[in-house]
Symmetry: C2
Subunit: 327 residues, 2 copies
């Protein structure tokens, strides 16, 4: 492997279902990336330390002096060590001040705290706070007043003002989709359907039809419309093989509908999607259906956030100034 | 067993997860009831015919001339024979006209059709149409203009005018609760909690707190609040052992919130809950929280509906006039 600039940091995004490791350069760029299916609920038998060594051993051998930092559920009570939540409003410095250390072979691994909001209802996040820090660093103008949407198993809608996370909400859209597909009657038509998928266009149509159903539900929301995932198939108005795309549209559409309803008619501030490109494309499509066209997508936010928090903690020297726009 | 009046009908309420058999008298009263865990997805190895014989053999031997009728998923494509849906608006006569017969040992078993609505979105029901017919028969005034709520795995909200089912919606509340409890992160705190339940009052409080959260969500709905089932526990504001009661309140509250939002501010018409007494009590509690106080509860609707449809089909003579109020 050619390493164009000197690595300064090993960063881990260590969640419930997966572990991603980054070798990070002095401008915050990803010099190398590794993914393992070793979420905190399914680490190999050697435990967290063995998993860490396995994924980063050669990096640590070659650059023994660079620090290592990890964000995500690894800092939960089911992780390596529980790191107390930082109260919102919170910025990179507050997260840096809350770092907790675990030791492996005499060398520290710094764990990033999650964040908590308490009013009007409590919400907690672990991992997304780091992605938000990374996104603010790379997206000009976002840090003053922005709305960040981090789609996923538990989507987060994060409001930022003056570089601080001031509020966020959680939508269990990804988990809802998975449990309804795998364990409810709504997954059955697609599972029983033996025919081939007939193209991306038909899938996209079914997805958008679900989004439109959610949008048109207005103040009712989709709870009385989820069942149409089945009833449309029963009456012959939706092919079984497209029913999961329709369900995906219903659920993502409901997330967007509900979040926009919470803005009480105010136009959303500068909106940035953070995360996996394919999933962000789905959300961008849904947002467009709701008339929200000014949407940017930010990738590589986790590694950049780890780098920025490490810098705020004084663990590394940062060559580049903050808020460099990346591609 | 003492049978005070002559039985005239064997009625089966045969759904996805259970089978209930009724021996029904000439006034529509239940003379005997049997329950088996033999829903259509889990009948014993002998199949539907063997299950029917097992549950009703002695009745059929003792009263060989009385007819037998069944409603529910037994008439679906996964049941004994598929019975085409009857289009709404539909009344007892339309259901009677749609009966389909299967034969067992040379004697017919009549299968009641389900109902379908197609606009604005399709909905299908099998079994609930029969309960509605039974409820209309026993609840004075309901048949002219009523709203019937049938809570369950798939709750139905049914609008009746002039004795006909004109529209209905489906809320997957019971199934959502089960899949979230058994397969999502929301069920984990309660499953991991080892402490004893500390009384019905605390449970009822947690349930009502969930209902209130749904009510206060307004046009947003609960999609961004489901996660509070977990986050309230994480921040120490809800005991893990009460979290499923809270979730039940959130989901039933969302069903009520959404259904009332669909009325666009109009007061609900005469509202009757149909079904299991404990579940109906939960819904009555939730409806009260939304200011809907005029709620009646109707039990024994399935047997009464089977009896009324059998009469409409001319299978039995009915001694009592329709719409006798029962306790």
């Amino acid at each position: 492997m050619v390493v164009p600039t000197a690595p300064v940091l090993i960063g881990l995004d260590w969640g419930t279902s997966s572990l991603r490791a980054y070798l990070i350069g002095d401008t915050g760029a990803e010099l190398d990336v590794r993914a393992r299916p070793w979420g905190i609920m399914r680490v190999p038998s050697g435990g967290f330390a063995a998993a860490f060594r396995d994924v980063a051993a050669d990096w640590r051998a070659r650059w023994p002096d660079i620090p290592a930092i990890a964000a995500g559920m690894i800092g939960s009570r089911h992780g390596w060590r529980e790191v107390p939540y930082v109260e919102c409003p919170a910025d990179a410095s507050a997260l840096a001040a809350g770092l907790v250390t675990v030791e492996d072979e005499g060398r520290p691994l710094y764990l990033v705290p999650g964040v908590v909001v308490r009013v009007p209802l409590p919400n907690v996040a672990r991992g997304e706070e780091t992605q938000v820090v990374g996104a603010l660093d790379s997206q000009p103008g976002l840090a003053d007043h922005g709305l960040l949407v981090l789609p996923g198993t538990h989507s987060k809608w994060v409001t930022v003002r003056a570089h601080r996370i001031v509020h966020f909400s959680t939508y269990m859209t990804g988990e809802l989709f998975a449990v309804l597909r795998d364990h409810s009657i709504l997954g059955r038509p697609a599972a029983e359907d033996g025919t081939e998928e007939d193209g991306a266009a038909a899938s996209a149509d079914a997805f958008r039809r679900g989004v439109a159903c959610a949008r048109e539900s207005g103040a009712e929301g989709v709870s009385g419309r989820l069942f149409t995932t089945r009833s449309l198939v029963v009456v012959g108005d939706l092919a079984a093989r497209h029913s999961l795309e329709y369900l995906s549209g219903l659920l993502i559409g409901e997330e967007v509908r509900s979040a926009l309803a919470g803005l009480h008619g105010a136009p959303p501030p500068s909106l940035v999607l953070v995360g996996d490109a394919a999933l962000c494309a789905r959300y961008r499509d849904a947002l467009t259906s709701f008339g929200v066209d000014e949407v940017r997508v930010c990738e590589h936010a986790a590694s950049r956030g780890l780098w920025r928090i490490a810098a705020a903690a004084g663990l590394i020297d940062v060559a580049a100034p903050p808020r460099i726009a990346h591609a």
